[in-house]
Amino acid sequence: MTTAPERTDPTPLAPGAPRSGTTFLGLPTAPRGVGHLRGERPFPDAARDALRDGQLRANLGHATTTIRKKRAAVVGEVPDWEALRQAGKALKTATMARLDEHLVELERRVGERGGTVHWARDAAEANEIVTRLVQATGSDEVVKVKSMATQEIGLNEALEAAGITAHETDLAELIVQLGDDAPSHILVPAIHKNRAEIREIFLRTMPQVDPDLTDEPRRLAMAARAHLRERFLRAKVAISGANFAVAETGTLAVVESEGNGRMCLTLPQTLITVMGIEKLVPTWRDLEVFLQLLPRSSTGERMNPYTSMWTGVTPGDGPQEFHLVLLDNGRTAVLADEVGREALHCIRCSACLNVCPVYERAGGHAYGSVYPGPIGAVLSPQLTGVEDNASLPYASSLCGACYDACPVAIDIPSILVHLRAEHVEAQEKTTPEGAAFTALATAMSHPRLWHLAQRAATLGRFLARGKPTLPAVLPPPASKWTRSRDLPAPPRETFTQQWAREHRR
């Protein structure tokens, strides 16, 4: 157990939390100033720049199309896919309902098998715990398994500040790290880079790289392998995330493709795992469902090449010291929202990113958080408090492709709409948009007023001066439409008017 560091940074309240009048001040959300859940710019601004990057658009279009086809093929061959999906959803719902009990059980089981559990209420606390654990080993470097949780809390930066070098060993994370870049996809962090760009990064940053390196995938993988092998063999500490933790046995699981994860999980003396509290499943048997759902949804494979599982420590075999850091960082606040909590069911497969038309065009960086795409647009604003990521719930056309693709049937569109309302209802002053929507609602609920408003709208046809469309340049906010699309000139008469005229008795 650890003591919490002083908290100086006021953090926003969770959506739906009571705001005043009682001593309950809401559940804490992820703190500001640490980690990577908040962007510097609103989504529309960041997306505008990304949309102009032709190379990015081509890379993303190619990658998402390929992976979408693979996923569709392997999902299509499972006759009971829908039943499996509903089973995944039911298991997650049941687990979240008793998460506290399962977590305590997990802590007990991990302890019984020689591991140590640490509770971190936020990113700052988790970083502090991990840094202290690494320092205790006397090592000044660690190897890392690909992990979203450690990206979320900004662990690499925290370690660097303490003089500890973190080596990412997942090939794509390595590319991102060497390129001094940020991940743009949950599963394929370097999805925005193509082979030629990766070759350039390797040539520029790998000390012992072959200067004749080509952009052939095999040659690139060989270069990464040579670069990483040396680090695996000398590392004394590894840091991982976790795909699952089984409460009844205290077993942790990491699912991966490359085998780099297994090197980290088996070679070093000390293993530190940082895991979001929602990754837990109650029983071993639950893995049966998720290990079928995850690989088909994420990489489009029937089964992933490596599934590593470990329970505490085994004398003489693998790491002799094991620490599990259980991370909240806003998750309990998400759990408190009865509509939004479904976002915690996410198993980080990234199927929703790959099918999302917005993600496919704007790319992951536009979301500003390590969790991009549809799931990021519902998860990030809830973890940080919706006002800190207010543009994200609107970064969707609500087309619903994400809901269909989600292996645990998270109704992402409904959560997006819910968070939009949370944002609107959090405004203390009336916005121009709010005033307009209120006025429109009044008109739309009083037929007489509505008919007047409609008649006023049909007067807009005079702006068209006899042409079939309105002028291409209209003042804001209509300009947002007319910059790229025409608007038809309004008709002389509305349908209901015409109908009433024709059917007057």
């Binding site: 989504f43 529309p44 997306a47 505008r48 949309l51 917005v358 065009r361 704007a362 609107y394 970064a395 969707s396 056309s397 609500l398 087309c399 619903g400 492709a401 809901y403 269909d404 709409v417 939009r420 309302a421 949370e422 944002h423 609107v424 209802e425 948009e433 709010g434 929507f437 209120t438 429109l440 609602a441 008109a443 739309m444 609920s445 009083h446 037929p447 409609q454 709208a457 049909t458 079939p468 469309t469 291409a472 906010p477 947002k480 439409w481 910059r483 790229s484 699309r485 025409d486 608007l487 038809p488 000139a489 309004p490 008709p491 008469e493 509305t494 349908f495 209901t496 015409q498 109908w499």
Partner: protein, 266 residues
């Protein structure tokens, strides 16, 4: 059957020919059409933009306007989906339980046009004539919320003279998304551009769909490009007959007015 027509706020105000075509079609099939004059909007735009509390009186107005209707038909997958999936939820959240129950009961009697024709009336050949090369865009809410499936295609295949061409990437969103089209205008336009590229690759004269809103988006983009391809609502095609067909005028070519062979002569 006595059918109450819900035009939707958008169709009623800016694309009245779509509602008129729906009415003419249903009348041609032998049904009585009534148009409740108290109708306005389903409330979807408010809900989807975050104004769920403000949407409650709109839902109440809708329920009031259609109270007593035997069945309600609407030429919009999106609005019907909102009636089915959102109205009762926002009413219930606001504590309006009675309204929520009424909205739920009304939703059970509310159908999107292609579903009404195929599932309720059991008609696939509506006796339409439309001698044009047409491609069909399945709008997201028809496809994924209402699951209309291939009903619109079945109806289109039975239209005489109509040459149906498959739309590549049909299931991708056109980028409209209601207020998304202005709040995220750039991303929306990027999606629209790809949709238009696919539409134009078919060399179709007409792109059709079951939602006037998505068609206004696609049609507005095609019009801006001065493309010769127009957008025409499914109801307008199904309402067209040999009698109603007449040559298009050259100005139609750049109009998003959905005017290729208007189903309903002015």
């Amino acid at each position: 059957m006595r059918v109450a027509l819900f035009a939707t706020c958008l169709v009623d105000t800016v694309a009245p020919q779509v509602a008129m075509a729906t009415a003419r079609l249903l009348e041609r099939l032998g049904h009585e059409v009534v148009v409740p004059q108290g109708q306005a909007c389903c409330g979807q735009m408010h809900v989807n933009t975050g104004y769920r509390r403000e949407a409650v009186p709109i839902v109440a107005n809708h329920v009031r306007a259609f109270a007593g209707a035997e069945v309600v038909v609407s030429p919009s997958g999106s609005c019907v989906a909102s009636i089915h999936h959102q109205q009762a939820t926002v009413a219930r959240r606001a504590g309006e339980t009675a309204l929520a129950d009424e909205a739920e009961a009304l939703a059970e009697r509310t159908y999107e046009l292609s579903q009404f024709l195929v599932d309720v009336l059991g008609v696939t050949d509506v006796g339409a004539y439309y001698p044009h090369r047409v491609t069909y865009h399945p709008t997201c809410h028809s496809l994924r919320l209402l699951r209309v499936g291939d009903r619109p295609l079945t109806l289109l295949r039975a239209v005489r003279g109509l040459e149906l061409v498959e739309l590549p990437g049909a299931e991708s969103c056109c980028g409209f998304g209601g207020t998304f089209s202005v709040k995220n205008a750039d991303t929306s336009t990027a999606m629209l551009t790809d949709k238009m590229a696919n539409v134009l690759s078919t060399h179709a004269e007409v792109c059709t769909a079951g939602d006037a809103s998505c068609l206004m988006h696609i049609g507005g983009g095609l019009s801006r490009l001065r493309s010769g391809t127009r957008t025409v609502h499914l109801a307008e095609i199904l309402a067209s007959t040999e009698q109603s067909a007449h040559p298009t005028t050259p100005t139609d070519a750049v109009s998003p007015h959905q005017a290729t062979r208007p189903a309903v002569p002015a």
